[in-house]
Amino acid sequence: MSEETPAPEGSSASDWGFETRMIHAGAGPDPVSGSRQTPIHQTSAYAFHDADHAASLFNLQTFGFIYSRLGNPTVAALEQRMASLEGGCGATCAASGHAAQVLAFFPLIEAGERFAASTRLYGGSVTQFSRTFPKFDWQCDFVDTEDLSAVEAVLAQGAKALFVESLANPGGVVTDLETLAGLTRAAGALLIVDNTLATPWLCRPFEWGADLIVHSATKFLSGNGTVIGGAVVDSGRFDWSASGRFPGLSEPEPAYHGLKFSETFGELAFTVHSHAVGLRDLGASMAPMNAFLTLLGTETLALRMERHCRNALAVAEWLTEHPKVEWVSYAGLPTSPYRELAEKYLPNGAGSVFTFGVRGGYEAGVRVVEKCELFSHLANIGDARSLIIHPASTTHRQLSDEQRAAAGAGPEVVRLSIGLETVDDLVRDLDIALAAA
């Protein structure tokens, strides 16, 4: 076996620091060419050695690539990196953050079953869960996750998972992950955390008991506003066989000759299933080019997040002093009601997405956005460029007034995603826009 089994030169990634894994996890030199940067494997399909190899791949008896809807080497490099950065077991990339959310629930929720989600979510997630998921007969109960007895009640009513954002969009809200993980564990349910706004550099939900993590790679992971992408990371810690509540993972899968994923793959089960069944049938796979750009982004994640947070804090502090600003909701401010939670869960900084209220309500909110010169008026976050939007008229427009208020997207609310520019320029731009509002 000498040609196939050289001594592994590296040592365990758990011994390496976060910044090292950001650059190296999942991405050694290409074994064929020596290419040091990860190649973009722009291919639809992969050759088989012979008929037996093909059969083994289709039967999930061996690891390897068949067709890029199910897996691709560039995408797999990003999956490994995401798993490593989050401290998880495996990851599945998807065409978008929203596709990752469908993939996350797909093995867990059968038709007619329920899950719970925080009321403080990105508006698009509220819409996805409340409008589209019911078409699959997946029912979502929205719950105020700061009301623990309400959380216990929905879990007792059969919610199989609780979905929260660690740092919630549109901003300033930090979720008490450890406490919620205690409740889901006691109820035999999963805690699924959208870690998009925090990124694994600021917060690692698995360390607080989360079972699955989802990401929109569209934001800080890629970091330059270049891609639409997503990922589901599995902790590998949920015991599907013992639970018995997740037949998709513990019972025979007819399309794979009655194979039981949890029995056959152990802690790898969720991620194998997400590729072999989820991506196979839902088809929302990440493109190799998007995986490459996201890999490139993750190489500088810590550096960028440090600057994002520093700039955001400076802008937030400046806004609190501004006469036209009613309030600022940034968890990094000493006055934030989430200050303590931020110190616990986000010790390296409270992110760069937050909201503030303009005096003058809806009209004033819209005007501030339109008067900016440097801030880009667009519906995204997590870009090197600073971004501004008025959620009530855009991202959260499809919600009811009640849902908007619960999500922190009332009429006077302006959302910022602070970029990496010179901070004095950002302050000056907002000053001019507020003066004109």
Binding site: S2, E9, A76, C93
Partner: protein
């Protein structure tokens, strides 16, 4: 029949094995006696056996029922017990429950000299600390609660193809095998 995926959380204190220990075993071993190998191709043991064969190991199934029927599994005649396994076999891979692991480990210790056993490997989900202590006292290397298929894929890259964190980082580009190395 245990599985690669039996209750990992139920296992008491976590077991830590260095990559170099596991890699050393997988490089040294050529032949494996797989206790509990199933003739049913849908069973996890059959998956693991087929994969290890593809990587160049000889895997000899130990399965009394299959042996009584004179059956072969993946081209290898099933043996009724470890005593029947033709020497030399460097590793015993226990694909049976944690309790049964004691009996097979003791048999491996008895047959150690005869067969050339060096390693007792208990599958993912299988752990028996008493058996491990006895085997180690007898000079055998013991690995518990791990799957050689997964470890092979983790150490030599294939597991990463499935999106799993291999826990391996290296910036070296290994030179291709020489003619002699290819010839084995």
């Amino acid at each position: 029949m245990p599985s690669t995926g039996a209750n990992i959380r139920a296992v008491a204190s976590p077991l830590r094995y260095s990559d170099s220990l596991i890699a050393g075993i997988l490089r040294r071993v050529r032949t494996i006696a797989m206790v509990g190998a199933s003739p049913n191709w849908k069973r996890p043991s059959n998956f693991a056996m087929k994969y290890l064969q593809q990587k160049g190991y000889r895997v000899i199934p130990v399965n009394p029922r299959a042996a009584a029927a004179g059956a072969s599994i993946l081209g290898e005649r099933a043996c009724a017990s470890l005593a029947e396994v033709p020497a030399p076999v460097e590793m015993v891979d226990v694909f049976r429950g944690s309790e049964a692991a004691l009996e097979f480990t003791r048999e491996a210790i008895r047959l150690r000299e005869d067969k050339g056993f060096e390693v007792v490997w208990m599958q993912l989900g299988v752990r028996n600390d008493k058996a491990a202590a006895e085997a180690e006292a007898a000079g055998l290397t013991v690995i518990m609660n791990r799957c050689p298929k997964i470890e092979y894929g983790r150490l030599w890259g294939e597991l990463g193809w499935g999106g799993f964190d291999r826990g391996v980082i290296s910036s070296r580009w290994p030179r291709p095998a020489t003619r002699d190395e290819r010839a084995g």
